[in-house]
Amino acid sequence: MKDSLVLKNITKRFADVLALESVCFTLRRGEIHALLGENGAGKTTLMNILYGLVRPDSGEISVRGENCWMHSPLDALAQGIGMVHQHFMLVPTMTVAENIILGQEPTKGPYLLYNEAERLIEQVSEEFGLEVQPNRQVWQLSVGEQQRIEIIKILYRNADILILDEPTAVLTPPEVISLFKTLKSLTDIGKSVVFITHKLSEVMAISDRVTVLRKGRVQGTVISCESNEKELAHLMVGRDVVFSTSSHENMSGDIVASIQQLSANGDHGKLALADIDLDLRAGEIVGVAGVDGNGQGELAQVLAGLRKKLSGNIYIKEQEIVDTNPATQISHGVAYVPSDRKALGVALDLSLLTNSVLKNHNIEPYSRRGILQHSTIRKFTEGLVNDYDIRCPSVEGSVHTLSGGNLQKLILAREISSAPSLLIVEQPTRGLDVGATETIRNLLLEQRDQGAAILLISTDLDEVLTLSNRVVVMYEGSIVYESSSKVFNRDEIGLAMAGFKTTHKEQVVE
């Protein structure tokens, strides 16, 4: 029996970062094959290549024994490959049926045959045991139901191979069970499934085989039932033991920020933060490890005032902040370097001068009684450029000419310059080259040594382990692990990140 899918030596480079290196992956007919790895491991890139959204630099793809290239999702669909993205591609105001048939409508002459569409959909629904109500509008449906529609969409187009990208990220536990049942029945009929995930429990529960990716390379492909969580976690995060380079002479500074029982909703109305308790002290870097989408972003946003909390208390320097908004937080000494630098951190079309005072344009000495003090601003900006070695043609030039590293330096420099009590940084070195990465990390250490409390959120586990005094792991909106020992237990952290509950939590040094 031919393999459904063979990917051989797929390599892909983005700018100067190697996203995938000689990745080999096979999918057997009728199997559920999990693709496991952290953020940045390359899972989504690999699948995007398969689905025709990205072109690989080298390698081969063969589907059912025949070599082929995917130039677009249409090619992939033609080959029988369908993908369910993390972000659903459904038109909310159209009905279920309309969404499913869009682009491939049953017609007779100019007429769209709605009845025929319904019949075909019911056929698919029965064949694969996927319940669906064709005439409801999509916005009325639950997330689980919407996902089912995405699956029916690709089955309607006769997909043989289904790729699901982190499908359980948005589902409730009963919905997850339902999804697994569906997948099993699909493979029983002979369909094949690729299941991208970072959750170990799911890998063990549903997959036949699992391929682990780490930093663009395949770490191993194992038969799931012959492995266990510990082994997988090991493969996922690597074997090396990392000594934290920061000294743990806990300067044991005062508590700068205290978060108690904090809860908040995410963008889709679902709970993103669940009763978080966290203290942040001066002179300490607290690293938040965890795969993207487990609440870290929301935590940062609430602290920065960009997202309202549902319940709980936030204290900054012993003052309770009842109503958070950006201006208030800024005035309390909270600085924030967002993960989405270009969209949020700067106004790309405007100059360095303008962007450097984004947060403090309203206060002395950068403005006096409503009037900007341009010479002061210029000196300040030039100071930043010099001190932080920001390469730019001139400070009047617009920010979008800066390279990624220099842009990040500018933003970080700006935030640091306000001498913040609490500095929140998200993905500080994402997409940066080695030199810039080192610079940024040193800057963070410097700030810590000067007494700031730093909340470091990063999907790069090495980074978190290297820089932090204390590490917490967030999973599905809660803190599931905390450690401040000299040597961080990488395996335990990896397990926690993947949702495997450790039997003990280390004591936090008071």
């Binding site: 999702p73 459904l90 038109v91 909310p92 159209m94 309309e98 682009g103 409508e105 769209l112």
Partner: protein
């Protein structure tokens, strides 16, 4: 004229018939804009396209002595203007509001200029014989409904036909379904292989054609002359009609008829309500439009309207 004259059946019928007649250009333009906006493109320039369509129709009709040639010319022009707008907003991703206004200025200028060029030598304002009213046999004999609906020029009948055709296309064909998807969530349409640009181009061109026809109505079927003030803001009212009609042709028809009737009443009411300054009566359509917008806000505009679609 006094109130007792109003409440006679013949007067009411007369008004309603005029209302249907006068609503023709509004509804045609609004229909076209419904297509464009449903696909996610808002064309503020239809006032200009109407004026230019009115001029081209008039000009060609006089040159060839054939009214239908005029109609054909204005259809062509509308398509051309639609193509231009689509190119700038869909391919070049320029801001739709700005392009709409630019087109407004351009088309108005073109109409005014070329009219002067063509007719600067005539002493009297040139005019043509407009389309005759065609009474549809049998149907126009029906008491009351007959004279109101079936005693009009070909333009009005075109408008009547356009409503069910548009409704059919928008709600019963794959093309219509794709328009809806493209106007709400173009990324989703793109991932299933729908050609977003093609859909938008098509809809904007349809919009241009119908707007030009709406303008041509005035010079070819209503007054038989061209004047710079011919359209008088009706292009903008058509925009409002689209919102009021919740992007649905049948509701736009209803709204258009209301406006047509108000328009018809307006001149007659001025005689009656001479104590009320005429200006307030003239204001009526515009105030009505705002009120309509205030009540008609439950249905959302197509979500992707005014947002250029750029594939990631």
């Amino acid at each position: 004229m006094n109130w007792t004259d109003i409440l006679t059946a013949s007067f009411i019928i007369q008004i309603l018939a005029s209302g249907v007649r006068l609503s023709t250009p509004l509804i045609l333009a609004a229909l076209g804009e419904i297509f464009a906006e449903r696909s996610g493109v808002m064309n503020l320039g239809i006032e200009g396209i109407m004026l230019l369509g009115s001029f081209i129709g008039f000009s060609v009709a006089i040159l060839t002595g054939n009214l239908w040639a005029g109609v054909g010319a204005s259809i062509l022009l509308g398509a051309l203007m639609g193509l231009l707008f689509a190119f700038m907003s869909v391919t070049l991703n320029a801001n739709q509001i700005i392009i709409g206004l630019s087109l407004l200025i351009f088309c108005t200028g073109a109409a005014v200029y070329f009219y002067r060029l063509q007719f600067s030598f005539s002493l009297l304002p040139p005019s043509i014989d407009i389309f005759e009213t065609l009474s549809i046999p049998l149907l126009s004999q029906i008491p009351i409904l007959g004279p109101i609906f079936f005693d009009h020029t070909i333009f009005t009948y075109m408008m009547f036909l356009a409503i069910p055709i548009s409704t059919f296309v928008l709600y019963r064909t794959p093309f219509g379904l794709r328009i809806k998807a493209v106007g709400e969530y173009p990324q989703a349409a793109d991932t299933v292989g729908v050609n977003v640009a093609f859909i938008r181009y098509s809809c904007v061109i349809i919009g241009g054609i119908l707007a030009a026809l709406g303008g041509a109505y005035f010079s070819l079927a209503e007054i038989g002359i061209y004047a710079d003030t011919l359209i008088g803001g009706r292009g903008f009212i058509a925009l409002a009609l689209v919102v009021f009609g919740r992007w649905n042709p049948v509701w736009a028809l209803a709204g258009g008829l209301v406006f047509g009737i108000v328009d018809a009443l307006q001149t007659r009411l001025q005689f009656l309500l001479s104590e009320v300054p005429s200006n307030f009566l003239i204001m009526m359509p515009y105030v009505l439009t705002i009120l309509i917008l205030l009540i008609g806000r439950n249905k959302q505009a197509p979500s992707a309207i005014n947002i250029p679609f750029i594939r990631e």
